[in-house]
Symmetry: C2
Subunit: 261 residues, 2 copies
């Protein structure tokens, strides 16, 4: 099942997608809902960020090759994580399918994509076990954890390196029927595929994070976890179009512009 | 003016506090509002966390003595921040006035308070200037940035050191009439005052953070910034009561319990 959040009569509304048809619902996937009688064409609707989370979690360093690549870029030794310590990102930076990634005028050239699987939590939960962890997941969407590497290296926190407005494209929708081990993430810049990797080849997997996090944290409906990216990443510049595809989920596509250009 | 968020007929409601009288409103301080005709006694209402933010910002290391104390505790060199780089905390950890700080069974003894000024944003804003920055502030409340120092030292992120459920008491209310330079923060454990410091003696002040953050970030109504704490902090144990008073705002008071005791 495929859940979108769309703009309808100027307000956000959840909708079910079936093929090219969009069916607005009353309610949301996080509570009671029912289909309306409306039928829209997918091409005609404005897709919004599929969820605005109470808390925005991010795994960060979670694929072995990427850890080595980033360490080299910021001039540090690669430091493979030894436990599933979760990090955070910020809602101000979220933009939807098709919206523009705006590079601030004072950013360097080192503004890079990171294509990521996003886990969307469906229910309130704590102390999940390996057996029941995935039952807390509503579904999966796609994120692009855009990063300015100079700021990432020099600042004490990731506030502007990763949370500058528009640096967190997410979408296009939430897919509930996903077999994690079958997924492949493909990243394209201006149509050229730069990397493809098995999405589930993480250092710590979805279940690892859910179990570890919920030893101390309550997760709430709509919370989401960005699972990290693999391999090297490349610079994006004014006029580029970046795509993150995860097979079976969809393709997140965003143009790139530099402020003041 | 003093804004509280209270529980009324089982739902959250904003209210104005005048002396010991609580006046529920329709709407909220972040949009249009008007007073209802109801009058409640302060002692009779359940105070909720005064705001649940879209994004929960925290300055972290922002008072010189505290930076040195924490560095000593975690065995690192003190590293005074050279720019106003903002960090993040998480909504799951928020609890209100009077609610219990629950120390997980597997935490060490090193669970400590940090009494902090909290800035509550009143309107959407970007690119604030030193001249207009404070006009974006609705008011101020009080936070206790409870921290487990062993986890803070050993984990890659602050996820459980600072964001374990109940580790972010906040309240009792939002005060809009505040002169920052007059404020004094006082922290008491079981009635004994352990520290008092001029709240505004920060490394980077409220204006510094607002101006710097909004070069890259849009702030939204209800966003909040915890401004950090000063000096040494002490352990809290099962049965303790911790109070953070900021003169002119109020006193945030929370009991402490250890899980399984």
């Amino acid at each position: 099942m495929r859940w979108a959040r769309i703009e309808l009569n100027g307000a956000p509304r959840y909708a079910v997608i079936e093929g090219d048809t969009v069916i607005p619902v009353n309610g949301s996937p996080f509570e009671a809902w029912d289909r309306t009688s409306q039928r829209l064409k997918l091409d005609d609707v404005k897709l919004l960020v599929p969820v605005v989370p109470p808390t925005f979690y991010a795994a960060g360093m979670n694929y072995a090759e990427h850890v080595k690549e980033v360490a080299a870029k910021v001039g540090q030794k690669p430091n493979l994580p030894t436990q599933a310590d979760i990090g955070y990102r910020a809602n101000n930076a979220l933009v939807a399918q098709g919206e523009t990634i705006v590079i601030p005028a004072d950013a360097t050239e080192l503004v890079q994509y990171e294509g990521e699987l996003v886990v969307v939590i469906g229910r309130k939960c704590k102390n999940l076990t390996r057996e029941n962890a995935l039952s807390a997941v509503l579904g999966y969407t796609i994120g692009n954890d855009v990063s300015e590497r100079t700021w990432q290296k020099q600042d004490r926190t990731l506030w502007r390196a990763k949370n500058t407005d528009t640096f967190k494209p997410m979408g296009p929708w939430i897919e509930t029927d996903v077999k994690l081990e079958d997924l492949v993430t493909k990243i394209r810049l201006n149509g050229e595929q730069l990397i493809a990797f098995p999405t589930n080849h993480m250092i710590f997997g979805v279940v690892d994070f859910l179990v570890n996090m919920t030893t101390c944290l309550t997760l709430y409906p709509g919370d989401m976890i960005w699972m990290g990216t693999e391999g090297a990443t490349a610079n994006m510049k004014h006029g580029d179009v970046v795509e993150v595809e995860i097979t079976g989920i969809g393709t997140l596509r965003n143009p790139v512009a530099r402020e003041g250009r």
